[in-house]
Amino acid sequence: MEILTGNELMSGATVYLDRSGKWVEELQQARVFLKEESEAKDAALAVTKKGGRVISLEVETVTLRDGAIYPDRIRERIRAEGPTAPRFDRQHLDEDGHVSI
């Protein structure tokens, strides 16, 4: 299973593609792509790249744990929450930082 993630252009904030085609802050709202949905995934990547508002796009593998999305890589888990030490809240989107594909 995979999710799409990137950083929003203005704030640099970590964002995830959700089920309605919006790029959102919350990992748990990310759209989970199954193996057989690779076409949809590629299409979403292509459109986003063209839009230019989400950068450093990556496909991340995840598993579901008790129904919650759990990224395989530690890096992704830290990206979702913000730095662990010194502990800081993650970066948030600006007012005008909300984008859809």
């Binding site: 640099g12 890096r75 800081f88």
Partner: protein
């Protein structure tokens, strides 16, 4: 301190305007990310895990109070109230937003600072001894020559697209406090048979995935020909350095693969053409730049020493601070002070906006308006009167800056690691915090003595782990963070790369592993005055390997 001339000022201003325009065009969609990325990197703006990161150059680590206050202002206004001082004597901000970058760069330009050439395959900020111009053991103040090198290397048209990044470090003292043997070029001040001062030139050192100790390419280059000589090295590198593989592109690989003799011949041949040309540095020009770095008007101070033993009884924390954080000065009655950015449980190298303001005030009031960033991620006040020490200390205490641990086990160099860095494999800051907590007791630190721990979150080695007396490298294995421990590295004139002694440890086990190394050292040292690194050299790896892994 050096002041920008009209050329510098006009250039930085122009570049700021240019970049503002590029940001505007990026935000409007006129530029796409592929076009914009190289432009932002040229201006020090990276994208990290959580946000953008802006790296600002502090040329040869020297700043005045106005500049430090501007950094504090940036931290407060555009970031999250702190900044991270790095091993390259720079500062990084971890949370700026793209639209604010033009304003930040304008604020910086107003105090003669910028972020140009803090990224990319060009000559990066030239680093030097944090005690330059003040140290008792100095042959020459390296900063005038460092400034001349800054001017030569800034936007050098031929050297803007080198095979890879290029780092130069200089030491004006015999004791190397700038790790010059681990840079692409290291310059060591020296004298020739006639008693003239010039530069020993080292080339091909580096850390990263292939750590190398630099080799001496020339035993003496006079100031007059230094630029020509360096230009010759850079030309040889630019011509023959590998561009096919980014991991083999640094000059260390070229020197290693080609051999220092051949490189020397190639450089000499180039030098024969370049020498005596436009790059000749006239003495008058060197003198002109040197005047910017003129020594302050020292006062005659009655008191020329501190009774540390007495202070240790009267006020132990102050006594410890005096014992650890002062560096001998060339002027009687003065010392240089290390302000530790390594509080117990803190993130090494971080300072809050308030602390930056306080440090700026102290520099203005007590240190001829000057301060330094050290490659060990601390701040230095270079020119402090001994009689002012109690006042300076009192202020430091008030603001959580009075840790008396310079050079001790809790004075850890540490890169941002996986908490911030997009390239990291493992976290490094939490380990540093844990280790400082474990060894927090001052008596314990005093018992251990000089010991440098350096931590990197990946093989790029930004935290200098290869040259830590004890080095810690974070790696990732099957989704967990593991830490490899090396022993015996040394960044000084006794340059050495640490040895890996065995398998890695999970984070929870690292503090105890380090403690076992420390205990092995204490048990076997000849006397408390034999430091860890000297004992390691005498004893070899075996006892330390046993300490880590048992004698199996």
């Amino acid at each position: 301190m050096y002041r920008y001339d009209e050329f510098d000022a006009a250039f930085v201003k122009e570049r700021t305007a240019q970049f503002s325009d590029q940001v505007a065009r990026r935000l409007s969609g006129e530029l796409n990310e592929d076009q914009f990325r190289p432009l932002r990197l040229m201006n020090g703006l990276y994208l990290q895990l959580h946000a953008y990161m802006l790296r600002i150059a502090v040329p040869y680590g020297t700043m005045n109070s106005r500049q430090m206050r501007t950094l504090a202002h940036i931290a407060r206004t555009y970031d999250r109230g702190y900044g991270h001082f790095t091993t390259r004597q720079n500062i990084q901000f971890n949370w700026p937003k793209l639209r604010d970058i033009p304003k930040i760069l304008e604020d910086l330009a107003a105090v003669e600072m910028h972020a140009i050439q803090t990224s990319g395959n060009c000559i990066r900020n030239i680093t030097t001894d944090q005690f330059a111009g003040a140290a008792a053991d100095e042959i020459i103040d390296p900063r005038p020559v460092a400034e001349i090198l800054r001017q030569w290397s800034s936007l050098h048209p031929e050297f803007s697209y080198l095979p890879r990044k290029f780092k130069i470090a200089m030491s004006g003292s015999t004791a190397d406090r700038a790790a010059i043997r681990f840079h692409d070029i290291g310059l060591q001040a020296t004298t020739n048979g006639l008693g003239e001062i010039g530069w020993q030139v080292w080339v091909g050192g580096g850390l990263g995935r292939t750590p190398m100790i630099a080799k001496m390419i020339s035993g003496f280059v006079p100031h007059e020909h230094l630029l020509a000589y360096l230009e010759s090295i850079l030309r040889v590198y630019n011509r023959y350095g590998r561009r096919d593989n980014k991991y083999k592109a640094r000059i260390k690989i070229l020197v290693h693969e080609t051999g220092i003799e051949t490189i020397r011949e190639q450089v000499e041949e180039e030098f024969a053409h370049v020498k005596g040309g436009v790059l000749t540095l006239p003495q008058e020009e060197l003198d002109r730049i040197t005047r910017y770095f003129a020594e302050p008007d020292y006062e005659l101070v009655n008191q020329t020493s501190v009774d540390v033993a007495r202070e240790k009884i009267l006020n132990p924390p102050y006594g410890r601070w005096l014992e650890r954080n002062l560096n001998a000065h060339r002027q009687a009655g003065y010392v240089s002070i290390t302000i530790s950015l390594k509080p117990v449980g803190g993130a090494p190298g971080d300072a809050t906006d308030k602390q930056m303001d306080v440090i700026a005030d102290l520099a203005e009031r007590y240190s001829h308006d000057e301060l330094r960033v050290s490659h060990e991620q601390n701040i230095v006040l270079p020119y402090v009167k001994i009689t002012d020490l109690p006042s300076v200390y009192a202020t430091l205490v008030e603001h959580g800056l009075a840790e008396g641990n310079a050079g001790q086990i809790t004075d850890i160099i540490c890169c941002p690691g996986l908490d911030f860095c997009a390239l990291a494999n493992a976290r490094s800051i939490p380990l540093a915090q844990e280790l400082t907590r474990k060894f927090a007791a001052p008596e314990r630190q005093a018992e251990i003595g000089d010991l440098k721990i350096k931590i990197s979150g990946c093989i790029n080695a930004c935290g200098h782990h290869h040259v830590g007396h004890i080095g810690i490298l974070g790696v990732e294995k099957k989704g967990t963070e593991l830490y490899q421990i090396t022993v015996g590295g040394d960044a000084t004139e006794n340059a050495a790369i640490g040895d890996i002694l065995g398998h890695g440890f999970v984070a929870e086990d690292v503090p105890n592993a380090i403690e076992r190394l420390v205990d092995a050292y204490i048990a076997r040292r000849e006397s408390p005055s034999e430091p860890f690194i000297a004992a390691f050299r005498r004893l070899g790896k075996q006892p330390f390997k046993e300490a880590l892994y048992g004698d199996a």
